[in-house]
């Protein structure tokens, strides 16, 4: 039986390391070993998207990634969105549009929406809905989330030089 594995990675641009069992998911490693509890566990089988994080430039459900696979990777979590006390335009737009109620799904929506707007700054409503189909919310009925993403896209466009 293998002992624990020393994993060297980068989380939100900062070098990070942790000692994990091969069976521990990246989600568990982030929450329990790195104390980054912004990423949430929902279904733990890839359906709900609450645990969505960025990994080497694309989004993944961290419950379906092993912590050991993060060796040498670049991981982005919801903790990396705000700059100090300055919230990311998506976070502001979620607050202003009441795009959350219980909040468990919110970190996953934020990380997924950020990846979309970085790739496609002006997505259509249909495109936003399809991109976020991997994220489930049982509170808002989605419309407020879609409006928040649209507002953030507009504000990010205006802020660009």
């Amino acid at each position: 039986m293998q002992s624990k594995v020393h994993v060297r990675t980068a989380i939100n641009g900062e070098p990070a390391e942790f000692l994990c069992e091969p069976r521990q998911s990246l989600l568990e490693c982030l929450r329990d070993l790195c104390n980054l509890t912004g990423t949430k566990e929902g279904c733990n089988d890839g359906n709900c998207g609450a645990c969505t994080v960025e990994m080497d430039g694309r989004i993944v459900t961290s419950c379906l990634v092993l912590g050991v696979e993060a060796e040498g990777a670049q991981i982005g979590t919801v903790e990396g969105l705000a700059r100090g006390t300055e919230l990311h335009p998506l976070q502001k737009a979620f607050l202003e549009n009441a795009a959350l109620q219980c909040g468990i799904c919110t970190p996953g929506f934020l990380v997924a929406a950020k990846a979309l707007l970085e790739q496609e700054p002006e997505p259509s409503e249909a495109r936003i809905r399809l991109w976020l189909a991997n994220n489930l919310c049982r509170c808002t009925g989605y419309d407020k989330i879609i409006r928040a993403v649209q507002q953030a896209a507009r504000e990010m466009k205006e802020a660009r030089p």
Binding site: M1, Q2, V5, E21, P22, R23, Q24, S25, N44, D45, G46, G49, T52, M55, R58, I59, V60, T61, C63, L64, V65, L66, V68, E69, E71, A112, A115, L116, L130, W131, L132, A133, N134, N135
Partner: protein, 286 residues
């Protein structure tokens, strides 16, 4: 999750030696099936062999003469993000965008979709229609098998002890060639096919020279409906020929009734989806 060891080999030979003599070892690509199965105890696994550090499993390259080499661990987002795939195999780019949602497509691979060997695997009927071949490696060396021979029963395939899927080879599209996959699901996205049809056509001088039809979710394995494709050879593309192929697809299906649909409904879907996929492929040729 149950305890397992983890290895990340750097070569196919190293992976084969890790798998050989370890019936409890499993190859990991995107993990979107494997890790779910281990966690829910549907599969026991003592050793996870991560294939993603092996260059051959990550290869995605197109040669206008030789066709496409698609490494077994290449995730869906790389497939639909690839310019050559989008231009030479638009149907493949489309099917990579059908599997799961965005975050699943960041990990899940077409090779994994095939090795999971579900009858409902969306990519497999299209691979069969495209005439894809599997390149396998094992303790006895390498071998090549057609995708339609790969799956043997639900969740089972012909991979032997110590053997793994290295890559898929898809022939270069000939002039007049087009392929298309259609599935029926009751939602807009992220669902398992009630039935699906993957087709390809090669039309030359207004006549179908060659056609292939394969079906999802209507047999114990993704089903190559050879007769449906053969019914089209030599015909003029159009309603009459497509109707005959659709009826042959309906006859080839041997579905079951379950929570997703009844036998009658699935047979009906086979005919409708085959006809519509053929119409779409024929439109693409022009």
């Amino acid at each position: 999750m149950q305890w397992f060891d983890y290895a990340a080999p750097r070569s196919v030979a190293e992976a084969v030696s890790l798998l050989d003599g370890r019936p409890d070892a499993r190859i990991l690509a995107g993990g979107t099936d494997l890790l779910v199965q281990i966690r829910s105890r549907r599969r026991t696994c003592g050793l996870v062999v991560d294939g993603k550090r092996i260059p051959e499993l990550n290869e995605l390259s197109f040669d206008p003469a030789a066709g496409l080499t698609l490494g077994a661990a290449v995730p869906c987002y790389r497939i639909y993000g690839d310019r050559a795939v989008r231009s030479a195999y638009p149907s493949l780019a489309e099917v990579a965008g059908l599997i799961g949602g965005t975050a699943i497509q960041g990990r899940a691979s077409i090779g994994g979709n095939l090795c999971n060997s579900a009858p409902s695997a969306d990519a497999v009927p299209l691979l069969i229609a495209l005439g894809a071949q599997c390149r396998l490696a094992g303790p006895g060396g390498g071998r090549t098998v057609a995708v339609e021979q790969f799956c043997t029963a639900p969740g089972r395939n012909l991979l032997g002890a110590g053997e793994l899927l290295v890559s898929l080879r898809i022939p270069a599209p000939a002039p007049g060639f087009a392929a298309h996959y259609l599935r029926f699901i009751p939602r807009n996205e992220m669902d398992i096919a009630v039935a699906g049809a993957g087709v390809s056509l090669r039309i030359q001088d207004g006549v179908i020279r060659e056609a292939r039809v394969a079906l999802a979710s209507v047999a114990p394995v993704p089903l190559f409906a050879r007769a449906a494709g053969e019914a089209l050879a030599g015909k003029t593309p159009g309603p009459e020929a497509f109707h005959q192929a659709a009826e042959a697809a309906r006859a080839a299906a041997s579905p079951i009734t379950d929570m997703r649909g009844t036998v009658e409904y699935r047979r009906h879907l086979c005919a409708v989806l085959t006809r519509r996929a053929l119409e779409a492929a024929a439109r693409e040729v022009h």
